[in-house]
């Protein structure tokens, strides 16, 4: 029972104090889970993170679920996950209630008129950095362009775009796997 509570409170603290999304909390999780509590050895932790990072869904939630499950089974997973999301839910509920009450005040409206174009920039910048880091060649560079055209211009549902991209990527991943195996088979 003690470990369940510890899992909850550890992830609650992480959820309540990390700003800047899932990846920012990674070092906090490492500090708590690997260094302080020594629940999981460092190499196993990073192996797990590498896999969890490539799974769909909320990264922080996936990490909490895996750490919780690994240490204290299904109850542990539930406790860690609740700990990770509870601060978000409480804080957002409070803020949303307040914001919806006061958003029509001229002062609030003025502040948010300044913020909105900044939000747009904060979305465009990381997407371009991502495109840059994907090291595209002239063939693969078509992918982001087509994606943008489909969603922004033709208003296609992003869900269909992702499903199509997954189908393409599965084929790609299978080919890579095959190539790796062929290389391994060579003397």
């Amino acid at each position: 029972m003690k470990i369940i509570w510890q899992l909850f409170s550890t992830f609650f603290k992480i959820g309540a104090f990390t700003l800047g999304g899932g990846y920012a909390m990674l070092s906090m999780v490492e500090k708590a889970v690997v260094d302080k509590k020594q629940w999981i050895p460092s190499d196993e932790f990073w192996d797990m993170i590498a896999i969890v990072q490539s799974l769909p869904g909320v990264f922080a939630v996936n990490t909490a679920l895996y750490v919780g499950r690994r240490i204290a089974g299904k109850k542990g997973a539930a406790a860690a996950m609740l700990g990770a999301i509870l601060p978000s839910i409480v804080i957002i509920l409070l803020l949303a209630t307040i914001f919806r009450e006061y958003r029509d005040l001229p002062v609030v409206e003025r502040i948010f008129k300044g913020i909105r174009p900044c939000v747009v920039a904060l979305i465009l910048a990381p997407s371009l950095r991502m495109i840059k880091s994907a090291k595209l060649n002239w063939k693969t560079a078509v992918i982001p362009v087509v994606t943008v055209a489909l969603i922004w211009w033709l208003k296609v549902s992003p869900a269909w775009v992702i499903l199509t991209a997954i189908a393409g990527s599965v084929v790609y991943a299978l080919i890579i796997n095959k190539k790796v195996r062929q290389k391994e088979a060579e003397p």
Binding site: A16, V58, A96, V145
Partner: protein, 179 residues
Amino acid sequence: MIYLQLLWVFIKIGVLGFGGGYAMLSLIQHEVVDHYAWMTTTEFADMVAISQMTPGPISINMATYVGYTAGGFGGSLLASFALCLPSIIMVYFVIRLMTSKKTGAFMSNLLKGLKPAIAGLIFAAGLSMMNAQNFVQIGKGENNISIVICVLAFVASYFFKANPILLIVLSGVVGYFVY
């Protein structure tokens, strides 16, 4: 009815949301602004700003906010839970499969293949928000401060990796004095 819609929308986002919170932006925007019209494009932009500045996972923040706007307190809990549900199922039933090295390598290749499309997805979400509702007086020439803010924030974020929260606060201060 609204509960069922929220459940379906956020389960879908939990399953298809590869590549972190920002990658879910386009999915959420399409459902919430275009399809179900639970929010205007301005409310959506405000929600992203608030979710960004609040501690915790940005996608949980957005799910809670959308759920609250569409279906009140119950809606907010339901949307956040629905977003986590695919992950819960994954961990409860296929943990062996998911944590095996072989599946891990496959998933990471899959994500590598998805990356260009995800980047395009995020970029499209940003472009869709570049409209007359979010940019004051766009194209009228008399007040293009919105564009100036956007360009400066972009440069600060892209080239200097400036702290997003700091940029949001600064542009809020600029908005307060300019408008």
